[in-house]
Amino acid sequence: MFQVVVGHSDDPDSENAIAEVLQECNRPLRGSIPQAGLLFTAIDFDHTLILQRIQDAFPGIELIGGTTNGEISSILEFQQDSLTLMLFATDEVEIWAGIGRGASKNPALAAQEAIAQAKAKSASTPQLCLTFPDSLTSNGVLILEGLKQSLGEHIPIIGGMAADDYTFDKTYQFFQGEVLSDSVPVLLFSGQLLFSHGVASGWTPISQRSRVTKVDGNVVYEIDGQRALDFYQHYLGEEGFASNYAIHALAVFDDQDHFYMRAPNGYDQQSGSVTFFSDIPEQAVVQITDATRENILSASETSLKNALADYPGVEPTAALLISCAARRRILGTLARLEYQLVKTHLPKALPCCGFYAYGEIAPLVGKGQTQFHNKTFVTLLMGTK
């Protein structure tokens, strides 16, 4: 048995919202006790209360999650200021949660601690890892490196960085009954789980090609010999940069044709540096990107189609969807179309849950290395035989 249920409420009142969500989840569970769950909520809920209510309903549940920039589910589709919960009730798959703290001090160590904690709960070999780390205190690439080291490079990691309401102020992560910041929550799956994933972006590099000439990890000081901030402000304007820098990520070229994206999450007026969600190599060729709503939607569809094509079973039981916050912002009122478009390719009753993140984690191709990226739509399909 691998039963997945979803609840979703747009009631801004935390007490009412979680009550509504639990009620929605309990109905199809028909008495089954879920072992694990994923919780995605808007930033201004009473998260402690929500977690408490979930623990009250399902004591000891292996639950992780985080705050978001928008929530998705098969119940209310795309929403903002809402909370959505996905629960797993299964005897075919083992699901264990772990948490790593102090990601800002030592991201790799935090990641290792999280994996170690989850692994300690079972002798089974993990098949898949989900994670929703803090996006603002640490570096996504370093966290991912730590996760890969602990799990082994061949175990796929799927996830997204916890987000807020575009204030880039603070994000929260959830682990069991705890509301945390600066942490790395993980959920390990082992046993009979079948799954597949897909990733697509839709962003296009449009500026002239430039070269990163001075960088320290994820802090870029100079591009083409000029201050990184001046480089960005040249293209976006001073005001435009201050309010929109997260949208116009840099395409970082692996070679002449292939690129991945790095989005800024801060800047320093004095040094003229721009900080990114994760590392950019020195001497990397970069271009400022832009996207049309049409291309974004088309990429979401591609991501799902890729996952469906790779799915090893007959039909998936559930889908996890992680999209970038910048996609939601550009899509505007069309953000609801992103889910609706994806839904047309999925079985009608398939439980779906997801959120808009500040950076996505997934292998770019099936059986490929897990990578950190921005501006993408990640699809994870799960099920059993």
Binding site: D10, S207, E239, H248, D290, I330
Partner: protein
């Protein structure tokens, strides 16, 4: 009823909360959207500027490449032409030299031979006067050789030989002048001499033959001082223009009846004049069929030819244009009226200022 009211109350309160939240968000997102659009516009304008710059740059580079390619083609063609001309010049100079020596023997000895002949004839006449009745054998021989005719004709043969050797010497001199192998620098030369030398070389094409009627050449020379130029190259220009004129007249004749040719014989008119204190003008006109308007713009283009494959390289006029305009800072233009003929006009400064040329 109370329960239902209570439920409706709860639903209304929830809807109210949601609407308030959505209103708040709506306001925020409207501002955000305006800011997004402004930024996007800014970015797009920048990128359009960059693309325009890049396009201009590419067009410039493409033009540069095209120019370089054309220059290379020209250079290659000129090198071939120049090699040909150099080889031709050397051959002409060689032939002229080889002919010059034996002709000099003949020319140098002709005056002696003439003197000896006159002396001998005078002696024969003296014999005749003092021995009017010679022996029969001598009288028979006199009749056999027709001494009276021989006395007259020998003088004429010698005169004819003199004229012939003079003509050979003139031709040799023209060939040497035309090739001008020794002149790689500017030199003040008589332009008329260059034209005459060129006409001399082309004499065989100007004279009437079984296949073509004579082409009249009208020389209308002005009073020109010597002109500073690369004489060999300027002669090459005259040669190219004259050969084209002769070819054009040949083609024109091929389309005309005998009567038409008689009524309006082929003619090349060469006029030279002084334009002002610094410039001279040489105009070479034919009375052929003219150059069709459709190809007039291409006349100076490299590789442009109307001649059959193998007959013309298409470089003659292109090189002539370059010789006059670039090497002599002059002008080469033409005026053509279909049905009436074509006139090429060369204008060059009488003195070349080296610094300007460099």
């Amino acid at each position: 009823m109370n329960n239902q009211d209570n439920f409706i109350q709860i639903q209304l309160e929830k809807t109210n909360r949601i609407l308030q939240k959505k209103l708040e968000r709506c306001q925020n997102e409207r501002c955000q959207l305006e800011s997004d659009i402004a930024t996007k516009e800014f970015l797009l304008k920048k990128v359009i500027c960059e693309l325009e710059e890049s396009q201009t740059d590419l067009q410039q580079r493409s033009q540069d490449l095209e120019n370089t390619l054309n220059s290379l083609h020209n250079m290659q063609a000129q090198m071939i032409q120049s090699e040909k001309m150099s080889a031709l010049g050397q051959m002409v100079a060689g032939i002229a030299h080889e002919i010059n020596n034996p002709v000099s023997f003949i020319y140098g000895n002709l005056s002696h031979l003439s003197q000896y002949t006159h002396d001998l004839l005078r002696l024969v006449q003296l014999y005749h006067r003092y021995f009017p009745n010679p022996p029969a054998e001598i009288q028979t021989e006199r009749k056999t050789i027709d001494l009276e005719f021989l006395e007259k004709d020998a003088i004429m043969v010698l005169q004819s030989m003199n004229i012939g050797t003079d003509r050979i010497r003139d031709i040799v001199l023209s060939l040497r002048n035309f090739s001008r192998l020794d002149e790689s620098e500017f030199k003040a030369v008589d332009i008329h001499e260059g034209i005459d030398n060129t006409l001399m070389i082309l004499q065989h094409r100007l004279k009437a033959t079984d296949k073509s009627p004579e082409i009249q050449v009208i020389r209308d020379y002005g009073n020109l001082s010597n002109v500073e130029c690369y004489a060999g190259q300027v002669n090459q220009v005259f040669m190219n223009i004259l050969v084209n004129a002769i070819d054009a007249l040949g083609e024109f004749n091929a389309k005309r009846t005998y009567q038409e040719i008689r009524d309006n014989p082929c003619r090349i008119t060469i006029r030279t004049s002084v334009v002002d204190s610094q410039w001279v003008k040489i105009a070479i006109a034919d009375n052929g069929s003219g150059i069709p308007e459709s190809i007039q713009k291409q006349i100076f283009n490299p590789f442009f030819t109307t001649k059959p494959v193998g007959k013309g390289t298409g470089m003659g006029m292109a090189i002539s244009y370059q010789i006059i305009t670039e090497k002599h800072r002059g002008k080469l233009e033409f005026f053509s009226t279909p049905g009436e003929g074509t006139e090429f006009v060369v204008q060059i400064p009488m003195q070349q200022q080296v610094s300007k040329v460099l």
